[in-house]
Amino acid sequence: MSQLRIEHISKWFGRQHVLHDISFTFQPGQVNMIIGPSGCGKTVLLKCIVGLITPEEGKVYFGDINFLDLSPEEKRNILRNLGMLFQSSALFDSMTVGENVAFPLRVFTQQSEAEIQDRVAYCLERVGLAGTQEKYPAQLSGGMKRRVGLARAIALNPQYLFCDEPNSGLDPLTARRIDELIQELTEEFHTTTVVVTHDLKSVMDMGQRILFLYEGRAEWQGSKEDMLREIAALPSNLQAFLKASGLVRA
């Protein structure tokens, strides 16, 4: 049931048409990337998929089930297989780092305290923050919060992993480590991973399927290889986007 497909998603905020008829299939066991310039609707699309924003039109299929048709209770059952890293990290600021990561485990598993602490230590170590359990979110830098957010998102080994800008604001080394981690997890647990980014270095590192959004429209989609094979054949705004990053020749 781990294929994720969206069909004809449209979203308006008042009179602003933010998403225009977007369809895409996210592949399991792969890192699917949504790329595009700032303000093009990437975060809104991600929130439409996980049910935080309801699109006016369209369908979101988790496996064969249209998520948008489900009752709140049925939606929650699907959401429990899903981990999400928010652009703003969204850590619970009344809890320590350790409690943040332990939270989904406490709510949804029957694990003992020792098992939970082991899992928390393991997740924090994987994001390079071993030993920070006792700190509060307010004591962390933006990049550290992002990484705690990722640790919390992967605590339950989700089938679907959504990351909104996982490495913006991180130094290049840490950014690459996070990319590697996301890629490893995707392969290890065959998760359907969706990464939103405007960092083309990430795309080159781990992108497999790519959806390019431009002013709320799906301008181009395909595999990374397709994208790099013939740059001249791509839509001009995607070409400009790629060239501006300096990663492909102008």
Partner: protein, 251 residues
């Protein structure tokens, strides 16, 4: 203009009721709520005890001195002062003043806590985990309030009596024995029940109205501040209305 305002009022009230209903569905595991409930209750008690003590003590003292001032006739026994102070304390002062004070303290706290969780996407994070954020955030605070408000009101009522007796003694208006005789002469069990019904109702109003204000904040820190002020104003108004309605219905 007025019509719009009324419609908006009804819309908010409907939204408030829907949120309440939602907060009673999709419960997770009991232990989680138990912990949250204990935490919220301790916080309500700890945050309010000092303030309630001071205000009750002075309310009792002032009521006694003023009642003594109004009773000039030598034919009215001094114990009447005790009776009047005690009845007002039980029926009105303890539940209403305590709740108005707590509307400022507990209400603004609930609204700003939930509101800041809203604007920093923490509520979204709960929802994405498959947790009913309304239940998770509102239920423990609601139960904390409806159980601990009565406790605080009983405490306040006791302190008002203490304040009254002390003021009577210090001013020489009425001695403690007469005061207690007065308390006894008018006392009925129903008055205590009435007081507890009020406390329960006011606790319900403050926690749910404030949670509602916080839950639907849109924007940033500024809006959280506004929501917190609105929580205090609206719950205070609703307390006064409910106070009147309960008096009409039950007395």
């Amino acid at each position: 203009m007025l019509m719009n305002l009324i419609l908006k009022g009804f819309e908010s009230f409907g939204e408030y009721l829907l949120l309440l209903r939602r907060s009673f569905t999709g419960l997770l595991r009991f232990r989680l709520y138990w912990e949250l409930w204990t935490f919220e209750s301790i916080k309500i008690g700890r945050d309010s005890l000092f303030l309630v003590t001071i205000i009750s003590l002075f309310t009792g003292a002032v009521t006694t001195v003023q009642t003594a001032y109004q009773i000039v006739s030598p034919f009215i026994p001094k114990s009447t002062i005790g009776a009047i102070v005690s009845t007002s304390a039980i029926l009105e002062l303890a539940p209403t003043i305590t709740s108005l004070v707590l509307a400022g303290r507990v209400g603004s706290n609930i609204a700003s806590q939930i509101g800041s969780m809203r604007v920093s996407e923490q509520i979204d994070a709960l929802e994405v985990m498959g947790i009913n954020s309304a239940t998770y955030l509102i239920l423990p605070r609601l139960f904390g309030a409806i159980i601990f408000f009565p406790v605080l009101v009983i405490y306040s009522c006791f302190i008002i009596h203490v304040g009254g007796i002390l003021a009577g003694m210090i001013s020489g208006a009425v001695n403690p024995t007469q005061f207690v005789i007065g308390i006894r002469s008018f006392y009925e069990d129903f008055q205590i029940i009435f007081m507890l019904i009020k406390a329960f109702t006011f606790g319900f109003i403050i926690s749910t109205v404030s949670a509602y204000q916080g839950y639907y904040v849109r924007g940033g820190a500024l809006e959280v501040g506004n929501a917190s002020t609105r929580a205090v104003v609206i719950s205070s108004l609703m307390i006064l209305v409910a106070d009147y309605v309960l008096a009409q219905l039950l007395l």
